[in-house]
Symmetry: C2
Subunit: 194 residues, 2 copies
DNA sequence: GACCGTTGCCAACACATGTTGGCAAACACT
DNA sequence: AGTGTTTGCCAACATGTGTTGGCAACGGTC
């Protein structure tokens, strides 16, 4: 993180400010949602002037687009035993966003901001469906399987991180995994109901 | 709906206006979320002056509180064969909010409005847990079962009505029921994982 | 018909928001 | 040292927000 990760770019002097803005933006968007997270509050958190946000990210929409850049980083599912797909997926998701508030920000914003909803759709329609499509031929059935997986995964995130339902907050990740894994397993590889 | 349902109240002349406001508020809150749904827009939809909203509901928070009044109307689960509990529950939920946008309004608002999240918690912690608690003794296990059910139910609603994931929107309610029912069934009556 | 509470609208306030333009200091480069 | 670019801040604008007070018209009651 300290040294340069990519030397093709000219490495501007304002990179630290840009990063501070982005970090504050993710925090605020995750905590308050799109409309309640004001540019002034984000700028205050990053300890810079609100106009800097505009210069570096163009608009609030632009800032959100940059802050909500997100990759599911799904592992290669072809090398996973088919019977353990559900378990691998839940574990991955829980670990993935337990330490990264980007998805929480996206989740909160998706409820009210059309652009965020669009991005959410893209992530779960493209990335997840793509990973699921490695097995199974029927495309509509594949999409439906992916959609069902998304419904349980997002429901888990929604009740645990957004609404904060007490039983969903108190339960340990391991315990959640063992409850939810069979669900995803059936959605992924189970025989379709009549 | 046309005649008086309760004659103990004095039946004011402004009841029609009150109802129009409430209906418009539910629509706007469901479509736009709490912050984007402005009192002016709601008043315009109801074809009255914005100040009327304040007079009859006190504040925007008060209006939302009135508009988001919601009862799950869970059926009596003791008279349902235990093996069909999952199916009955999904069917009930889908039917319940497919024709009533109150829950969609509450769902959208719960992402950004603390009061709405609190109410959501109350609904699913009290009403659902209460209905589930009719069988099983261990209270924490009961709460966990209810939480898991809520996660799948709310995930279903979130992906279908809020994010509008194409596969979740296109699938018919009947098909969703046959996919999701076994999940709830296991959450409710399945043996806990080790 | 006089009176009083109710219903409704208009205009305005106080405030917060996203956004913009200008200006001083710091820097990079010759 | 001198010059052009970058970084940052200040002040302000335009707009939209929830909210309030006053005032006319209406409806029922004596």
């Amino acid at each position: 993180m300290t040294s340069s990760t990519r030397s093709t770019q000219p490495r501007r002097r304002s990179d630290a400010t840009r990063a501070a803005i982005l970090r504050a933006a993710r925090e605020r968007f995750a905590a308050d949602g799109y409309e309640r997270a004001t540019i002034r509050a984000i700028a205050a958190d990053a300890q810079i002037d609100p106009s800097m946000v505009m210069r570096y990210y163009g608009s609030k929409e632009g800032l959100f687009a940059a802050a909500a850049e997100f990759d599911l980083r799904l592992p290669d599912l072809t090398s996973v035993p088919p019977a353990r797909l559900g378990e691998v997926l839940v574990k991955h998701f829980l670990a993935r966003w337990e330490g990264d508030e980007t998805l929480v920000a996206l989740l909160r914003a998706a409820s009210t901001n059309p652009g965020a909803a669009e991005r959410m759709r893209g992530i779960f329609a493209d990335q997840l469906t793509g990973a699921v499509a490695t097995f199974g031929a029927d495309p509509t059935l594949t999409a439906r399987r992916a959609g069902l997986v998304a419904s349980q995964i997002l429901g888990l995130a929604f009740t645990r991180y957004i609404v904060r339902l007490p039983p969903m907050v108190d339960t340990t990740p391991d315990e959640l995994v063992s409850w939810v894994a069979p669900t995803l397993q059936r959605y992924l590889t189970g025989t379709p109901p009549s």
